[in-house]
Amino acid sequence: MNLYAVCAIYRFEMARAGRTLMQSIISPVISTSLYFVVFGAAIGSRIPETHGISYGAFLVPGLIMLSLLTQSIANASFGIYFPKFTGTIYELLSAPVSYLELVVSYVGAAATKSVILGLIILATAGLFVPLQVAHPLWMLLFLVLTSVTFSLFGFIIGIWADGFEKLQIIPLLIITPLTFLGGSFYSIDILPPFWQTAALFNPVVYLISGFRWSFYGIADVSVGISLAMTIGFLALFTAIVAWIFKTGYRIKA
């Protein structure tokens, strides 16, 4: 194991986050705060409580998930796409570094940033609504697992993308709609029966449901299924990454 290399890449990526603090931390915090102001305080006061929880508080896990998914993907995809774009990937490919080490360092750094971001948003939310976390360890588990899983997904997108617009397409066309429709802003049991069934085909429902359960003990689907789905995604993306490196897809001629 080339630990020096893993540390070098990890530090490099974290330093990048430090330089782009505005983009990676402050802007998600501001947009999340706006959600709280608009939906939590302004509109939320007119929305009845869900399962005995104020609408503002109900929003917290979903909003954290929303940021977590988009930022994990954005961070990890950019992290690996940029060296491809500038050509500095030559150095990574010529270094005595295994593919596993590359993934661990890039995905690890992106996931770390997401976890930090999630915790910052959580703290920000605490300023707007009364918070309770019923199962803190589960909360952390979901936070970390989701960050890792979607950083891995971002890594795949970053390797697949051959232009800046492709980096945006999947987060914009798939992740954001799925998150908005996946119960970030509502419990799926308020939907008509048909759409409740349809919603179960949306993988993000399971992520948000499990995460929300760790806060309030309420869930759209059982927490075991949520965990299984999260791990399932992790396994799927890991398999895709393994295939990418085995074939050299879009990295190595």
Binding site: Y4, A8, R16, G87, Y90, E91, L93, A95, K252
Partner: protein
Amino acid sequence: MQPIITISNLSKSYASGFQALKGVNLEIRRGEIFALLGPNGAGKTTLISTICGIVNPSEGRILVDGHDIVTDYRAARAMIGLVPQELTTDAFESVWATVSFSRGLFGKRKNPAYIEEVLKALSLWDKKDNRIMTLSGGMKRRVLIAKALSHEPSILFLDEPTAGVDVELRQDMWQLVRSLQERGVTIILTTHYIDEAEEMADRIGVIRKGEIILVDEKAELMRKLGKKQLTLQLEAPLESIPSELGGYELDLANGRSELVYTYDAQGERSGILALLQALNAAGIRFKDLQTTQSSLEDIFVSLVRERK
């Protein structure tokens, strides 16, 4: 001595079907400066990229100091430093950070003293805290060299290192290459400036259309393929070469006012004396004479043309 790099039967075909390398066999000797010459698109960069692990070989095998570049890539790559042809650098990092990053990437413990030495040798020390994007092209080239040297490689690849570089940097670079060689580093370079290869290299390889068409000691190459010419400036232009001089390889040049005699530099007898006597006998007088020897460039151009 065992060669430091052994390339056997290496072929590379890209997905487009283009065959960049065709059955290349090449050995690089420990501690030498090897110059790889070839026209654009001949496969120089593909060959270097394959050895360094950036391009997958389609066929064949490469050993770096006995380590297979595929199965034992860690040991092989740890020995190699690569300075790529393009100025591909990070933009926002400082010089110090990017060079230290390279050292870590190649699995070496931090060594600020060594990095300092490298930066000073490349006149980058006073720029160490500058962002790379603020540097000039020549300075970026120096940064790439510093990155390649950051992990103390025993083999250094320089892919067109002096393309678009000013005279000062060229000289600095060659001085650096010489001092690295003195420390036992093997250097493989590609260049467009053949005079540099002529000046620097111990051995020369010529690659054309993915095939190594020739590898030889530089001195041997120039001796074998070099031609000498004797140019005589005539007092009066000649209409044609007199028939009594038909036994010599003669040409008229410069508006028939010069007679050029081409002879074999390694031949036992140059035939100059006999020619001069024959000229005298034919009553042809000359004002001046000079001899020239073909440069590596002439040899290279004739080699590449010959095989077209």
